[in-house]
């Protein structure tokens, strides 16, 4: 065995490939560390670039992404090589045993694989030492941080991949089987990734992942910035199981290999067959005297066409019969189908209806297989004749060059079409099985057979080109992959324009409301651009394709010259024309009539805006007190024309001479502004659409002037990317930010500190301090207005209904257009929506005896599924809020659906636009959180918490609007749904909060200083407010909130801040619980509660439960550094029994004072207990919520 081993090593060491592979990994690691060109995640914000978790993630990814390919070629080869070079028979007749032979080959190759993989860690180890890396982003150098994950993940991965590939290569003697094996491993990984997306099977996914990527992610999912910077992953817990499982599988496959490998026969399985053939020779009917009939030989176009047909069918059948091909296809389809079980989960684990677009989305999982097929089979087809060495026979046949190439190409196209048909059938079957038989065949067709097909056909062209040009199969495959890496790299270098991104045409998102919308036009142009390019490439392919025995490039060029003929010239010229003309048209659209900037240029403009105009930030502004707008929407052309009037009032103590006008900077907008008093532009910045008007006569305190404006939005052609999804053919929804506003807009500033540094700007806080005396005078909507009277007339196309805040005064048709006049009877925040779409309307009413409210839902036809839930939520919310907070300030409440390009709902005065995506199409089961109900309740709550009590835009502001709306919605839900649903909701909120803090890029704030951090003000907010009402009672919380409304609703002199809430909460909190206000709102407090032992015994009719718990309380800083603090808290102890259906039910729950880390409790319950624990409902924030409860065991009497 030693000899074989040595031979293998020496053989490998002589091969340049070994060192090339090593160099690839080394350079990838090195470049990823030292440059921005390759990015493998990690190192964002406060997490250091060499944080242990970043390093670990990075090592694992590199061991898989290029690693899988390298391992398959290293480990699959050794035995196949012996067969290919016919050295097998020599080997097998030499006096070595099977074990020696296989063992030596395996060990030799494996050692080489380890050597190659060590390139990753060496490249990394060297990379971090390079002096040009920003030292501020690095921790002190620590090699152990690299070695440890290398030992835990990379080395076992090498072994796992190595053993499995060795087994498949040795047993099949076919390298394609090894590749398929690699693809299957990848599928297993992808399935485990899908498992991770739900929340119930995460641990399972973490254990089953062959590479440990998900295992690593699962373990570190809640790690805070500080932990990511300091902790390494140990070889404990779930990792051990994962590694043992896969190492076990690998060892098993090695055993199988040693056992099954047939050392004697040398695998001449066709030998028997051959003997049979020659044996039967004697009985042949000899008819050699037959005359060969003379035939007609045709040439010309018709012949060529039928030859192309013949060839393409021939190749198609060949592919379809290939086991490897079938394995890829079947694997891919299974993988895609598996996705259907997990992929329909939307928010809070609720399934979405399997609409056609959603199904198509899931079918997208198959794309990676299309890609593999395009890459692999364009090469296989180009090399087909040469691979079986029948090429010279073919090449001497009298068909033109294009016949073979077009035939091969078409066979690939047939294959794509066939697969797409299969996918469509899979989709339709899935829709049928899932009971949603609304098959939108047109959507299937356009998405699969126009968008996807053209994409893969383009890739096939690319594959043909690369393979023909380089004329070396493996290099060709590698270059295809390099090509994609390069595509990513050039976009990193600033070449982000879609014209640089091969096959970039895309139909975009489909929406039931807006169909494929306006995406078809740019899609068509980009497609013709890329098809022009592809045909140019194909022309080159036709010229340079190898026919005959000449492989030298010089000879091919010479032959190519001979091949030039009028039709080839015509093809070349016309495809070049297509390329250039559609390219020019695209350029004209994206860069001439529209503006194009890459992201660096955008950031630098933003920075310049800040540098130039920030000095005006605190200039006093006139405020809008009256708004009138007249808007004509043209959905057909995606335009609008608005004429408006603001009354601007000086609410300050001093006269105001200047008006700082900020127009909407989008390229589609044209604005004009005029005043009813004499004014001149004193300074202007066209680039920023910022103008300073100097008024001839200053506006005295308390006086007003009127400003008129026209704001026209005109869609011009199409843009490079990020086209406007607010003004649409159907489902327009835009807001007042399109109209002129006033003053410097700090929202335009560059946000991320890294980007600020790149643009020479100082770091900045995300929000102004809570006590900033300037900031608290302005509300969250901006400095432009406090509240304004509001009136609007909207016209639109007759088929659509247009809606804005206010009450409908009049509706009429005139000149083929439909008009709506809305007017609000009380001043509203200067933030209003304008919506226009073809709607069905559901109308209802709500009354509590004192107030009557008209309820309306404007929805897209066919989206009726959850309307009842929404109406119910509207009513229950109005019930609860009017009873516990204050009266509803309007007489009407409307929900309007808008297309799924954006997925949120937003609360404007008496008006709630609500995305198609997040409520209308959810399939709510009995044990699901009712998301439409929840979102509706949350948005309605904003009518109080934002529209009545309005916050200042300072730290902690979202605690007022968002957290209180979460609370309000939770309380409505608590009345409506069983506790299990609420518990599920809270558990998901906890998960999202903990994940959110792990991804924090700057600093985690306590709730009362939250800085637009959704994971805090929504997710943690729900948990905190639920705990608060649990501790001090719902009534007390509501008393505090009512007090706040009394004091703060509609105030304009200053706006509310989070400290006011804490003050009011403290007032309603008993002394013994005062500490919780600080724990919940002012600090980041976490618990590690755990039930260590739990037993029970029967005592007469009662059961005595004994539990041992441990409880640790932590305080975390903004980076997640935790310190233990003494515990002295009231915490639930609970016991669960079982109801008649065997479902758990809570039979005991009581708060105990926990003042030691370890405590014991004895509780007697009247029913047979099943489980017990501390904080069993997870009201407190606990990173291991699952160990709070434990199943009880029967205690033996001692």
């Amino acid at each position: 065995m030693w000899e074989i081993f040595k031979f293998e090593l020496i053989y490998r060491l002589k091969r340049p490939a070994t060192f090339i592979y090593f160099a690839i990994l080394f350079l990838m690691a090195f470049c990823a560390i030292t440059t921005d060109v390759i990015r493998v995640g990690g190192g964002a914000g406060q997490v250091k670039e060499n944080a242990p978790t970043t390093i670990a993630f990075f090592l694992i990814i590199l061991s898989v992404i290029p690693g899988l390919i390298l391992a398959s070629s290293i480990m699959g080869q050794p035995i196949i090589r012996d067969f290919k070079n016919n050295t097998a028979s020599m080997m097998f007749t030499s006096p070595i045993t099977k074990t020696q032979y296989l063992g030596g080959r395996f060990l030799g190759s494996f050692v080489m694989l380890v050597f190659i993989f060590s390139g990753i860690i060496l490249g990394m180890a060297l990379g971090y030492l390079m002096p040009w890396i920003d030292q501020e982003k690095l921790l002190p150098y620590n090699f152990w941080h690299m070695l440890k994950p290398f030992l835990i993940f990379v080395l076992p991965n090498a072994f796992i991949m190595g053993a499995i590939f060795f087994a498949s290569g040795t047993l099949s003697r076919n390298i394609m089987v090894v590749y398929v094996q690699g693809i299957l491993l990848f599928i297993i990984y992808a399935v485990t990734t899908e498992l991770m997306e739900g929340w119930e099977n995460q641990a399972l996914g973490a254990i089953l992942d062959p590479f440990g990527i998900n295992t690593n992610n699962h373990i570190t999912r809640y790690w805070t910035v500080a932990e990511q910077n300091s902790q390494t992953i140990g070889f404990t817990g779930i990792i051990v199981w994962n590694r043992l499982l896969w190492i076990g599988v690998s060892i098993l496959s090695l055993f199988l290999t040693f056992w099954r490998f047939d050392f004697n026969l040398a695998g001449n399985s066709s030998k028997k067959q051959r003997n049979k053939t020659s044996a039967s020779k004697g009985t042949q009917s000899i008819k050699t005297s037959v005359e060969i009939p003379s035939v007609h030989q045709h040439s010309g176009l018709a012949t060529s066409l039928s030859q192309i047909m013949g060839l393409s069918l021939f190749y198609f059948k060949w592919m379809a019969k290939q086991y490897t091909f079938l394995a890829i296809v079947i694997g891919g389809i299974i993988f895609t189908a598996v996705g259907f079980f997990f992929g329909l989960g939307g928010m809070y684990d609720v399934d979405v209806y399997p609409t056609t677009y959603r199904i198509l989305n899931l079918l997208g999982d198959f794309n990676i297989f299309f890609f593999i097929i395009a890459v692999l089979y364009s090469g296989e087809l180009i090399w087909k004749e040469r691979d079986v060495r029948i090429n010279l026979i073919y090449d001497a046949m009298p068909y033109p060059n294009y016949v073979a190439l077009v035939g091969k190409f078409l066979s690939l196209v047939y294959m794509f079409v066939t697969l797409l048909v299969i996918l469509a059938l899979v989709g339709i079957a899935a829709q049928t099985i899932m009971g949603y038989p609304h098959y939108e065949l047109g959507v299937y067709f356009r998405s699969l057979f126009i968008d996807d097909l053209s994409n893969w056909v383009l890739f096939a062209f690319l594959g043909f080109f690369i393979h023909t040009l380089v004329n070396h199969k493996f290099i060709g495959h590698s270059l295809m992959i390099v090509f994609f890496v390069l595509t990513l790299v050039i976009s990193q270098l600033g070449f982000e324009h879609q014209m640089f991104l091969f096959a970039s045409g895309s139909l975009g998102d489909y929406s039931d409301m807006n169909g494929f919308g306006h995406y078809f036009q740019p899609f068509s142009w980009f497609n013709s651009y890329w098809f022009g390019m592809a045909l140019v490439l194909f022309t080159i392919v036709l010229l340079l394709t190898v026919r005959g025995a000449e492989n030298a490039f010089k000879m091919r060029l010479k032959l190519g010259k001979l091949r030039i003929n009028p039709s080839l010239i015509a093809l070349g010229v016309s495809s070049l024309f297509l390329l250039v003309s559609s390219g020019s048209y695209i350029y004209y659209n994206t860069n001439v009539i529209n503006e194009y900037q890459n992201s660096d240029a955008q950031l630098s403009d933003q920075a310049e805006y800040e540098k130039t105009l920030k000095k005006y930030e605190k200039e006093p502004l006139l405020k809008i007190v009256d708004t009138y707008v007249d808007v004509d929407i043209f959905p057909e052309t995606r335009d609008f024309e608005a004429r408006g009037k603001y009354v601007l009032k000086n609410k300050t103590e001093a006269a105001i001479q200047k008006v700082y006008v900020q127009l909407n900077p989008s390229n589609e907008m044209e604005d004009e502004v005029s005043f009813d008093v004499s004014a001149t532009i004193s300074e202007s910045w066209d680039k920023f659409d910022f103008y300073i008007y100097e008024l001839e006569n200053a506006v005295a305190p308390g006086d007003s002037i009127t400003m008129h404006f026209t704001s026209n939005f005109q869609t011009k052609g199409f843009v490079e990317s990020g086209s406007n999804t607010e003004i649409l053919h159907n489902g327009t929804f835009f807001n007042s930010t399109y109209f002129p506003t006033f003053g410097y807009q700090s929202g335009n500033e560059v946000g991320s500190d890294d980007d600020r540094k790149d643009n020479d700007l100082p770091e900045k806080e995300r929000m102004r301090p809570r006590n900033d005396p300037d900031a608290i005078k302005y509300n969250l909507v901006g400095r432009t207005s406090d509240r304004t009277r509001f009136e609007i007339i909207i016209s639109t196309t007759p088929a659509q209904i247009a809606i804005a805040p206010g009450y409908l005064q009049k509706e009429w048709e005139e000149n083929g257009r439909r008009y709506f006049h809305y007017k609000m009877d009380v001043p509203i925040l200067n933030f209003y929506s304008i919506v226009s779409a073809e709607y069905e309307v559901l109308r209802d009413k709500w009354s509590n005896g004192k107030q009557d409210v008209i309820l309306e839902i404007y929805y897209h036809k066919g989206h009726e599924f959850n309307l009842d839930r929404m109406v119910s939520s509207m009513k229950k919310s109005l019930d609860y809020f009017t009873k516990n907070f204050s009266p509803y300030q309007y007489r009407q409440l409307r929900i309007m659906e808008f297309p799924r390009y954006r997925s949120f709902a937003q609360s404007f005065s008496n008006t709630v636009p609500f995305s198609e995506e997040i409520g209308f199409m959810l399939q709510i089961d009995e044990d699901d959180v009712d998301i439409p109900f929840y979102v509706t309740a949350h948005e309605i709550a904003h009518q109080w918490w934002a529209h009545q009590v309005t916050e200042a835009r300072v730290q902690g502001n979202a605690m007022s609007s968002e957290t209180m709306s979460q609370y309000a919605a939770l309380m409505v839900m608590k009345q409506e749904f069983p506790p299990e649903i609420i518990q599920k909701f809270l558990k998901l909120e906890l998960d999202r909060y903990l994940r959110g803090r792990a991804n924090e890029s700057k600093k985690e704030q306590p709730l009362d200083h939250v800085e637009s951090q959704g994971y805090i003000h929504y997710r943690k907010g729900s948990l905190i407010m639920f705990a608060l009402q649990d501790y001090i009672s719902e009534d007390s919380v509501n008393v505090a909130l009512r007090n706040i409304i009394d004091k703060w609703a509609y105030r304009e002199d200053r706006y509310i801040t989070s400290d006011i809430y804490l003050e009011e909460f403290r007032k309603v909190t008993p002394d013994s619980l005062q500490y919780i206000i600080s724990d919940l709102f002012e600090t980041i407090t976490l618990f590690e509660n755990r039930t260590k032992e739990a037993t029970y015994r029967q005592q007469g009719n009662e059961y005595l439960v004994e539990i041992d718990i441990s409880a640790i309380k932590y305080r975390a800083d903004s980076l997640g550094n935790e310190i233990k603090i003494p515990i002295n808290d009231w915490i639930d102890i609970g016991v669960y029994g079982e109801d008649d259906d065997g479902q758990e039910k809570l039979i005991y729950l009581k708060k105990y004072k926990i003042n030691q880390e370890e405590m014991q409790f004895e509780i007697s319950v009247p029913e047979k207990p099943v489980k017990a624990g501390i904080d069993p409902i997870n009201k407190l924030i606990d990173r291991n919520p699952d160990d709070n409860r434990k199943t009880l065991t029967l205690k033996k009497e001692s």
């Binding site: 009917s285 035939v295 029948i390 000449e550």
Partner: protein
């Protein structure tokens, strides 16, 4: 129609000189191209078959310039390369039919007839539904000739068709070749003299890219008539004779070494005259003349 090859030269990028100033005139009928392995036969054949480019020289097939009018040549060409593979999981009939389409036989009926006729002719008819992967070397070679005969070619090039065949297969194969009509140019390259002896009306010997001899076999035999002498030698004597005589071949007859010597006169009494066969011609061209020059 004749095939006229003039001054054809070809040097490979690695420096190997495959053809050097080859000039040949190949009339209709069977033409044998004889030469050892690596003599440049295949390069010449591939060049005639439009699959390779010479560095210079010209090839005319009647009025057709082979080097530029490749498609015209291919229409009337039947080519059997020296080494070729087949799709293992395709049947003989399917592949032959498929190749017939590529030959331009687009009429389905005609194609079927010719495919069946050729399968009969090559004695593969009974195996037509069998996958080519299971074919023996001889069967595969016969399949090769079947495809070369598709569409009544006027120029047939068969490159080393008998290499690796057992005697029975070889016979069968040569019989097949000899059936091909006389109005056709058939170029058969081989390093086996018997192939040429049995079939060809014209022949050439080529070595190291150069044409050493052209003509009919009869003419060739005539040229060395009375110049070939035979002697049995012992092992020890072999070296000695090597030094003193123009040995063109050494072989064994019933275990004893036998040498053939080229000489205008009987070297000595121990040598007996032999009636030269084509093999002697071949070896004379390969070895005799060179030695003569040396001597």
């Amino acid at each position: 129609m004749e095939l006229d090859i003039r001054n054809l030269s070809k040097t490979y990028p690695n420096g190997v000189r495959a053809l050097h100033n080859v000039t040949l005139n190949i009339p209709q009928g069977m033409f044998g191209l004889l030469g050892p392995n690596g003599a440049g036969k295949s390069t010449l054949m591939r060049t005639i078959a439009t699959l390779q480019e010479p560095d210079n020289g010209s090839i005319m097939l009647g009025d057709i310039d082979v080097l530029t009018q490749k498609e015209d040549v291919r229409k009337i060409l039947g080519y059997l390369p020296q080494e070729f593979g087949v799709y293992p999981r395709v049947t003989a009939e399917t592949l032959l039919d498929h190749l017939a389409v590529l030959k331009g036989i687009t009429d389905r009926k005609e194609r079927k007839d010719v495919v069946h006729a050729l399968l009969h002719k090559t004695n593969l008819y009974d195996h037509r539904k069998k996958n080519l992967g299971g074919f023996s070397g001889g069967m595969k070679q016969r399949f090769g000739i079947a495809q070369a005969l598709l569409a009544n070619p006027q120029l047939i090039i068969v490159d080393e068709p008998t290499a690796g065949l057992d005697p029975a297969e070889r016979n069968r194969f040569l019989n097949l070749l000899s059936d091909i009509g006389e109005n056709t140019i058939v170029i058969l390259s081989t390093h086996i003299v018997d192939d040429v002896k049995e079939l060809c009306t014209n022949m050439a010997v080529i070595n190291e890219g150069e044409v050493l001899l052209t003509g009919t076999p009869t003419e060739a035999l005539e040229s060395i008539k009375g110049k070939i002498w035979r002697r049995e030698v012992s092992k020890e004597e072999l070296d000695q004779f090597d030094a003193t005589h123009n040995i063109i071949s050494k072989r064994r007859s019933a275990g004893k070494p036998v040498i053939h010597v080229l000489s205008d006169h009987q070297p000595d009494d121990s040598f007996t005259a032999v009636t030269p066969d084509l093999e002697d011609v071949y070896f004379t061209e390969l070895f005799g003349k060179k030695e003569a020059v040396l001597n």
